[in-house]
Amino acid sequence: MRRSWQVIWPPLVTFVLLHALWELIVRRLGVPAWKVPAPSDIFRAVVDRSADLMTATAHTSAAAVLGFGLSALIGVAAGTALSSMKWIERAFYPFTVFLQTVPLVAIAPLLVLWLGYGLASVTVSAFIVSLFPVIANTLAGMRSVDPGLRDMFRLYDAGPLRTLFKLKLPAAMPNVFTGLRIASGLAVIGAVVGEFVAGTFDQQGLGLLVQSASRNLQTPLVFAAVAAASLLGLTLFAIVNFSGYWILRRWHASAR
């Protein structure tokens, strides 16, 4: 208990002090709220627009969680497939790197073309951005399997499926979770950016809320929505992190 308190209070103090400073400077210089809102302005926006913020967060998190889930499933499956044969890895892995370099904003219109506006496009956008780290880390994990254990499985004539489920996947778990942790943050970013292009107002997510609020010079609301998006990313990260800790608690050094 005391330990966790020691972890929490220094950033908390920093947070409070920085915001006090921010408030002070903005008030002193008389900067208008539509340019740089003071923390108190943002807080007021949060209170006044809490219903909008909440539904927007819900919509964004739906797309982010779905996209993340797809990344987890397909990323682990793809990483496994890539690791199963040297030639598959050689033939396909270079292309997965495109996933990392793809300019999402540029291809989002294509998603709209194919999937229409709304949840599907936004989900796929979250999926595309968060896929690569899962594939890459799963692959790294599968490569890191203890060669002695591989020999052990060969000695006892374990088939490829048994080797996969009893050796390779469990051995890759720490790496898989590294990938999932990275993917969780990226999925939220992918969803918000996807909403810029593919969002709809009847299912308004945080991305669209940021856009409309900034267009209307409701800058405090922009800040509030950005904060909500960050918080969402943090929450998803924390959930993944904790699941990883729980699953790997027995044996992985980094989990302690």
């Binding site: 203890d146 020999d151 052990m152 000695l155 006892y156 048994r162 051995a171 027995r250 050094a253």
Partner: protein, 259 residues
């Protein structure tokens, strides 16, 4: 071929004929090696590091193939499934499994029922003196305990051929003596064939019924020596003149082969 069917519980003989192993990059590990190991023999293999001892063992296990020559295990030349066990220099345990589940792995891969697996694994764990630690995970065990888990995992299938590659090399002297003793008693009781690689001359003399000494790479056998000691062995033996004589013979050959 009916007459050559493997009888269950029978130790496996090993024979290598003119075995050559050349690795990619040109390293010639073994060249035209001949070796016959009788069923039920405890063979110690000594030699300078890098002379091809591990390579030899891996080929007997079927984990590696010779470029030339033949490796035959058992009456058919091919070992029965699950008849061979291998203990590596490092324990190579699965960190995500506790001791029981690590030891039960070979049975699991063989497709045995869970309840039977557990009881068989527990018996093997007891035999290496780890009954109290059976639910612990590898990271909660000392180096010696991990090696014993690895030994239990090898013994759990009651192998007819046991391959051991410097298994106790990294342990402290006392733990090593204890494990040597346990292994020796087990061999006396079960009479499986054992190929035991070690760099410790006294360990070879203490455990084996026959010892070979290999030269530098490519490894050739320069000494093939029957250990002439009574079958009741113990730590007390180490100061006996007969034991010391055996050690001297092996040590001389080892020095000669390393030169």
């Amino acid at each position: 071929m009916t007459e050559s069917v493997q009888i269950e519980g029978e130790a496996l003989a090993v024979s290598l004929r003119s075995v050559t192993r050349r690795f990619e990059g040109g390293v010639l590990a073994l060249e035209k090696l001949d070796l016959t190991v009788q069923a039920g023999e405890f063979l110690a293999i000594l030699g300078p590091s890098g002379c091809g001892k591990s390579t030899l063992l891996r080929m007997v296990a079927g984990l590696d193939r010779p470029n030339d020559g033949s490796v035959r295990v058992g009456p058919n030349g091919l070992p029965p499934r699950g008849g061979i066990a291998y203990v590596f220099q490092d324990p190579h345990l699965m960190p995500w499994r506790n001791v029981i589940d690590n030891v039960a792995l070979p049975l699991e891969l063989r497709g045995e029922a869970k309840s039977k697996r557990r009881s068989t694994a527990l018996a093997a764990i007891e035999r290496v003196g780890l009954a109290d630690a059976s639910r612990r995970y590898p990271n909660q065990l000392s180096g010696g305990m991990r090696m014993r888990v690895s030994l239990a995992r090898a013994l759990v299938t009651e192998p007819e051929l046991l391959l051991m590659d410097e298994p106790f090399g990294s342990l402290d002297e006392l733990t090593r003596q204890m494990l040597d003793q346990q292994l020796y008693e087990l061999w006396r009781e079960r009479r499986m064939t054992v190929l035991f690689v070690t760099h410790a001359v006294h360990e070879a003399a203490y455990l084996s019924s026959r010892a070979i000494v290999m030269t530098r790479r490519p490894g050739r056998i320069i000494l093939d020596h029957r250990i002439d000691l009574p079958e009741t062995r113990g730590v007390w033996m180490r100061t006996e003149p007969a034991f010391m004589k055996e050690c001297r013979v092996l040590y001389k050959a080892l020095e000669w082969g390393a030169a």
